[in-house]
């Protein structure tokens, strides 16, 4: 064995079965700069590796891990590992038995030095489950080289098994997400479908994430051939057909199970079933200075964000004098073009109008909110004037109360959000803004000096351009906070590039506010 480099950095590809992780791992291996990420921890492969590494028949775990580090490390000192959740969980168990102590992250990092996590997911989980089912049935796990595939053997999947594998995939993905969130780890997320389409740039992005020299890396074309063929497509269609036919039963079957978390409730936004389908596996950060607020980057999964971005572009394309379908000037005294979401909004924005999103935001902001939402898009043309430092503790009127499982939007045709003035027969519900949220979308890359930040201030007397904290308009990031008499914030002029965002407020009964701060701090709207 050649003298091995000592690993000081690790590339850990976290994956699920049939997520395309082989394509990624193989691509990384062949750059020579990201270690040799293989499934060293898979129990079925242990005998093979033991032989390859020249270990005695029954090595200790310590010997195995040492040999694994030697074998998986490239000359630049990067160790590569590809690991599915169940093998990761097994490693933690073995390591604890071997006397390693600490949190899961500490135990793992006591074996694998300085890991940088790369999480690969597949957008089409149904095809992933079908692919898994097919590989299990045929015991053929990958197709290498350019040779033609073996003659297509007829294959008839057992849909119950596919269902089971789908559930397993969901469960294992959830387990990874919990691990990342619990330990404040922000993995680089790679989507298999993007990797397959943009192979070289995706591999380069991973090298950049690792902090190794990506610009100088030679990235050979993929050696693994895509195994999916028409058969998977046909079965996917058939499965969906069968599932639709039996869907009501399935829902009934699950009705007795209370949602274990905010994430498992349905969100009714496009193809997504739950928040878990849309949120990237990152924790959100709560900060208390200058007043409590939550910040998060890479909020949505890349593919979900891409859809929101496209939807924003569509509205933008309708023009700046095009309300209600496009943007318009609707906020007196504030240099912004806005677009307000209406009831019945579907498409990518619907996720922001879903009750699970509302609830997740409310809980993270420590607010009991009642399902009333004002949501819109903001566009600031280059050089828009800074706003004022204000607190957003304003009233809002809605046409009716909200059930615990729904969101009710403001509806100007029925009742004015600002004054409560209503059509005959409408009993307006008065609320006060409870949480203000700004999600940045469809912006050009931001650099310090560009402006366009949301400033947070300790006092309304502080000048707008001197915030205690400035949150820059970086795509797929957001900031939100409880609206209180002291939640001083404001828009800082965007000097160089346009600035785009989705804004929303969730609301609560006035009594909650009056009980805490009295009625005086509620800032009534000027008559409009």
């Amino acid at each position: 064995m050649p003298p091995a480099a000592v690993a000081d950095l690790s590339c850990v590809v976290t994956s699920l079965p049939r997520s395309g992780s082989w394509l990624l791992a193989d691509g990384l291996t062949r750059t020579g700069r990201a270690g040799r990420p293989e499934e060293y921890l898979r129990p079925e492969l242990e005998a093979r590796y033991t032989g390859l590494w020249g270990l005695r028949a029954v090595p200790t775990n310590g010997q195995l891990w040492e040999a694994m580090l030697r074998a998986g490390t490239t000359a630049n000192g990067v160790f590569g590992l590809k690991v599915h959740w169940q093998d990761f969980a097994r490693l933690l168990r073995l390591a604890r038995t071997a006397g390693r102590v600490g949190t899961d992250r500490e135990v793992f990092e006591s074996i694998v030095p300085t890991p940088r996590y790369v999480h690969i997911v597949r957008r089409d989980t149904l095809r992933q489950a079908l692919s898994w089912c097919r590989a299990l049935d045929s015991n053929q796990w990958w197709a290498a080289g350019a040779s033609a595939p073996a003659a297509e053997r007829p294959w008839d999947p057992d849909f119950d098994e596919v269902e089971l594998l789908l559930d397993l995939l969901t469960e294992q993905e959830r387990a990874w997400r919990r691990f990342f969130a619990a330990h404040a780890i922000c993995p680089l997320e790679v989507v298999y479908e993007d990797l397959a389409r943009d192979y070289v740039p995706t591999i380069r992005r991973v090298l950049e994430h690792l902090g190794v020299d990506a610009a100088g890396a030679v990235i050979p074309p993929p050696a693994l051939r895509r195994q999916a063929d028409d058969m998977s497509g046909r079965w996917a269609a058939k499965y969906l057909h069968v599932q639709r036919a039996t869907a009501p039963e399935r829902r009934d079957g699950q009705a007795g199970t209370a949602p274990a978390s905010v994430g498992s409730a349905p969100i009714a936004a496009g193809p997504y079933r739950s928040l878990e389908d849309v949120l990237a596996p990152h924790p959100w950060t709560v900060r208390s200075h200058p007043f409590p607020h939550v910040v998060a980057r890479n909020v949505l999964r890349p593919e979900v964000y891409a859809e929101v971005d496209r939807a924003f572009e569509d509205v933008l394309a309708r023009g700046m004098d095009a309300a209600p379908h496009g943007f318009g000037r609707s906020t007196p005294g504030y240099d912004v073009f806005s677009h307000t979401m209406r009831t019945g909004q579907d498409g990518p924005f619907a996720l922001f109008l879903s009750r699970p999103w509302h609830d997740a935001v409310a809980v993270a902001a420590s607010v009991a909110a009642g399902g009333h939402v004002f949501c819109g898009l903001h566009h600031h043309a280059v050089g828009s004037a800074s706003g004022s430092v204000h607190n957003d503790l304003n009233p809002g009127f809605f046409p009716r109360a909200a059930r615990p499982d729904e969101v009710v939007l403001n509806d100007h045709a029925l009742c004015s959000y600002y004054s409560g003035e209503s059509q005959a027969g409408v009993q307006p519900v008065e609320t006060v803004r409870a949480v203000a949220l700004i999600f940045f979308v469809h912006n050009q890359p931001w650099s310090p000096g560009d402006g366009g930040e949301i400033g947070l201030y300790a006092s309304a007397a502080h000048p707008i351009e001197r915030p205690a904290v400035a949150v820059p308009p970086i795509n797929n990031s957001m900031v939100f906070f409880e609206c209180t008499p002291h939640s001083f914030h404001g828009f800082i002029s965007n000097r160089r590039i346009p600035r785009n965002s989705l804004i929303m407020w969730i609301h609560r009964p006035p009594a909650d506010v009056i009980g805490r701060w009295g009625a005086d701090p509620i800032v009534r709207w000027p008559s409009r």
Partner: protein, 247 residues
């Protein structure tokens, strides 16, 4: 390894908490120590009284990373009065200090031949990289340690100064000022050990090579833990790819 005589949790006053090492120490040792983490501009990655984490899918459950929080103090220790303020705050917060980790550092690289600003700022540089560790330890001693040598010995109290392998080896790249400060710190560490022996406090230094480039940051965190639980005093340990060696 001797366990502390008391069941009371160990406490640590750490400077440079926003740096790579400081942040890693906070993240991985917050469960073991009550840490008072002093940072100048960047909050450490760890959860603190000012910042913690929430899992949006399980907002009701506190993530592991938020369970043990460090107490952060924002301070520019180069400014007059800040060392004293930080020590008083730390004592007010945790009551006693078992371990002081001097990890604050300032980087000023440049040639000693033709980099006038570097030389003009040399005193500021030395104030942080050489003198601050001694000033901080002395402030802790003045406020706390020097009145209780028995308690200091019983709790195995000690100081770890973060030096650098640059103090021993001569690397190109304009590290003169940095290396001189760290070489001075090595000498100062040994003398501090002699001085502090009288009050039962150990003083050691670690001189790692670059991390996480050549050695994992976690390895340095572990060396700090080993010094804290061990009995050495007056030592300077180089930690590099060849392993550890006393110099």
């Amino acid at each position: 390894m001797s366990a502390p005589a008391s069941m009371e949790r160990r406490t640590c006053l750490l400077t440079g908490a926003g740096g790579t090492l400081g942040s890693a120490f906070c993240v991985t040792r917050a469960a073991d120590y009550d840490i008072v983490a002093v940072y100048r501009s960047r909050h450490p990655e760890a959860a603190s009284q000012l910042q913690w984490y929430v899992d949006p899918l399980r907002p009701d459950v506190l993530p592991e990373a938020s369970r043990h929080r460090v107490f952060v103090v924002q301070a520019d220790l180069a400014r007059a009065g800040e060392v004293e303020r930080v020590v008083q705050l730390a004592l007010a917060r945790v009551g006693h200090i078992d371990l002081v980790v001097n990890a604050a550092v300032t980087y000023g690289f440049g040639s000693t031949l033709d980099n006038a600003p570097l030389l003009e700022d040399a005193l500021d540089h030395l104030a942080v990289n050489l003198l601050l560790p001694a000033r901080l330890a002395a402030a802790v001693a003045r406020e706390h340690w020097r009145h209780q040598p028995d308690e200091n010995r019983r709790r195995n109290r000690n100081v770890v100064n973060m030096s650098s392998v640059s103090a021993i080896e001569t690397y190109p790249g304009g590290q003169g000022m940095y290396a001189a400060a760290k070489a001075g710190l090595n000498a100062l560490t040994r003398h501090m050990a002699l001085d502090y022996e009288a009050i039962g406090v150990r003083v050691n230094a670690l001189a790692p090579t670059s991390f996480p480039g050549l050695v994992p940051t976690q390895a340095i965190v572990e060396r700090i833990g080993a010094l804290d639980s061990g009995e050495l005093t007056g030592t300077v340990t180089v930690v590099d790819t060849a392993g550890d060696r006393l110099v």
